[in-house]
Symmetry: C2
Subunit: 460 residues, 2 copies
């Protein structure tokens, strides 16, 4: 438990925390926009100055792109080390005309602060910075060493950080990684995300005749690339949503009874979920619940199809080519490389005569599962309950955050994904927001977290 006077200090500083957040949000750090290179850099400078002003040792580490901000509190011998990861860059803001207030003019309405980056990720990572600075300002020593790694390229793929990570392993050495860049399960129901799915993405192209052919003069004697592609995709996944690629499911770690029970207890029905996305019925492998399918089972998805005539009306051709964007979500312990090999072999096997296959692999990353019995998980759960007044539920997330898996692998550390946001925060959309009450609860939970981690013995 953090000292009582720290909690009082957090309450007294609430206004200042909001002013800090607004100041940071005003900097339009759109990392994908070449016209915003200086502003993105400035957002990094802002957080570096903030940390330095609080007494931390800060380095700006240059990369091929936007710099990394690394900062650290003093070592605490015998205590665990926590690494806070976050990012100071934000998504683009188009379509601008859909914003009620300007994306870089933070405004408070109905208890929410509206601005690009409010929840993703400036508002969330700032909770940890404020908790540490507030703690240091009490004069009491922090119970653990806390490091910060705040990057400026999360929204453009983190390629430069990924490349540098192994070389920074010693500097980043830690026992637990703390990331607040996700959501609670629902308003009033905080959550810890202990699992992420991995990903593997592909582009597939089927080439037939050297040019589009007249379907009357040639049709019937030529393998149609569009039909061939449909047949190959259909061979890969059956009507029950079962992927037919040999070995695809072999390495999937099954859900434990504990996990199935936890998922079953989460509020929300399939009918509500179907209605929220506008479908007449849900799809997929009916041996699993919808939540189990979204969080713990791998998928085969077609993300795009392109072939032949796409305009109005009719054009009676055998198209020369057809292509698909395909992606898998993977789960522990599926190996992306092995699964990609199996997929490529399968598609070569089911390729009809008369057409050629070009199979291109894009990016891939494995899934992630934190140990539910990790003492850091317990520490986080208690810290959240202390600050939010409600114990967090343990959830997984169907999406993929490749850098998290890399942290686990390179740093051999547990990862705590502690989202203070909400699913309707409009991250990546117009009118991004963050609930200010959750911002302050997040700061308190962070302060409590350092105390709870301090109780974990270094050897666990």
């Amino acid at each position: 438990m953090a000292p009582n006077d720290l909690m009082q200090r957090l309450q007294a500083s609430a206004g200042q925390f909001e002013e800090d957040l607004k100041e940071w949000l005003r900097i339009p750090s759109i990392s994908s926009d070449p016209a915003r290179i200086q502003e993105t850099h400035a957002a990094g400078q802002w957080v570096a100055e903030k940390l330095r002003g609080g007494g931390l040792a800060v380095e700006m580490i240059e990369t091929a792109g936007h710099p990394l901000i690394f900062a650290s509190t003093p070592p605490v011998p015998g205590a665990p080390i926590a690494l806070v990861y976050g990012h100071y860059d934000v998504q683009p803001v188009e379509p601008l005309d859909q914003w009620i207030s300007g994306p870089f003019d933070p405004q408070v309405r109905d208890g929410n602060i509206y601005a690009r980056g409010a929840t993703d990720d400036k508002g969330q990572v700032l909770t940890h910075i404020e908790s540490v600075l507030a703690w240091l300002a009490t004069g009491e020593p922090l119970p653990i060493q806390i490091k910060f790694l705040i990057e400026g390229e999360e929204e453009v793929g983190s390629a430069n950080l990924e490349n540098l990570l192994a070389s920074m392993a010693e500097r980043l050495a830690c026992d637990v990684v703390v990331i607040s860049d996700s959501s609670q399960y629902a308003a009033g129901q905080p959550a810890i995300t202990y699992g992420l799915r991995g990903i593997a993405t592909f582009q597939v192209r089927i080439d037939g005749p050297k040019q589009d052919l007249h379907s009357g003069s040639f049709g019937g004697a030529v393998t149609n690339p569009a039909i061939a592609l449909c047949q190959m995709i259909s061979a890969a996944i059956d009507a029950n949503g079962q992927v037919q690629i040999p070995g695809f499911y072999d390495a999937c770690r099954p859900l434990s009874d504990l996990e199935r029970g936890q998922l079953a207890e989460l509020p929300g029905t399939d009918a509500e979920f179907a209605a929220s996305i506008g479908v007449p019925a849900l799809g997929g492998d009916q041996r699993f619940t919808a939540l189990e399918r979204r969080w713990s089972r791998p998928t085969f998805e077609v993300n795009g199809l392109t072939s032949g005539h796409q305009g109005d009306g009719v054009k009676t051709i055998v198209p020369a080519t057809a292509s698909a964007k395909i992606s898998f979500r993977l789960v522990p312990d599926q190996d992306p490389q092995q699964i990609s090999d199996a997929f490529e072999a399968f598609f070569n096997q089911v390729l009809p005569a008369g057409v050629r296959l070009t199979f291109t692999r894009d990016h891939a990353a494995p899934g992630m599962l934190s140990r539910l019995d990790s003492p850091f998980m317990t520490a986080a759960s208690q810290a959240i309950e202390q600050a939010f007044g409600t114990a967090p539920v343990m959830i997984r997330e169907g999406g993929s955050i490749p850098i998290v898996t890399q942290f686990q692998q390179v740093l051999d550390a547990d990862c705590l994904l502690l989202g203070w946001g909400l699913n309707d925060d409009n991250a990546h959309s117009p009118n991004e927001k963050f609930c200010l009450a959750d911002f302050h609860k997040g700061i308190a939970a962070s302060a409590c977290l350092w105390a709870e981690i301090g109780k974990v013995s270094k050897s666990s």
Copy 2:
């Protein structure tokens, strides 16, 4: 046999025939181009004047679009009546920079005349006009009555002619329809086309979630419309090219042994055909030869696919929608309406749960087969052999010419498709051409045709 002095007259007039053709080709009668309405009309006027100048009774019949030219020689009691159909409109000329000489500046190179409309169809229909005018100029009576119907909207679908056809049945009454708007089997090998495939076209749309969904957060619990579409298409046609729609093949008239034998004797190998279109192997139902598949078997083709992300790179979504353009080629005696009904019922039956189907029918027309034992077929064969020095082969064509089926139905007349062109004439492409030697042989064959048809008794 046409009178000897007619053949001499045709030879003497060869230069004039070419001048006539060039004059007509210089009129840019692009029926699809609103800027060319007057020129298209002028090309109709040109042929009307040509026929009137030769002594025929000519009418220009106004339509909602470009006018029909109708002309007739005097009735010959007791003799059959022939109706020549053709068109004075031409295809667009883009890309202009690929033409060696201007599309409306006819030039002769290597024995070919190059211009838009040279083979499709001004050059070909003019053979019949010149033969009739030359015959009339001898002072000898024509052995049969010959009518001409030359339209200006063939390249835009003949909709106005189709609408008027039934009301013109009496005026167009005939025993045989003669159309030269196709090709010989190969250079030096004339052909009579006695069969055409029909067509039915569709647009199919599969709708899933109300918007594209994040494939991580939602994938696995939602039916993917792109996958659903692939599975439905794959259910409709198997790996052997066999269409799986119930009843699809029931009404297909089988090839007679005579026809199979005729097709088997045509020159050309499957390997040459595959090489010409650039495929590693041919496709389709291997119980039939490639020519049999192209000319006498129905097809299921996907003409276009559209879904989700089509740009560069990766976008990991479950797309909200997927759509396909699908068309069949049909053969006698498949009924387009019945086949379309069966297809719609089948697609509704194989529609996966969780998505919605919008099934739209476009146009449809049945296939056509002329009687191989028709005396007019024999007459045409003899006329062609007399003029070309080679007996024609009997071929079918995989494409569809809906107006031909309508002539058969409305006029209850045999159809003779006598193509003087070649497959490499670049109809619809830059550098359209027509071999001048074939132009003159076509005029001679046409003159012989009137004589041969005159020998056919009216009752046959």
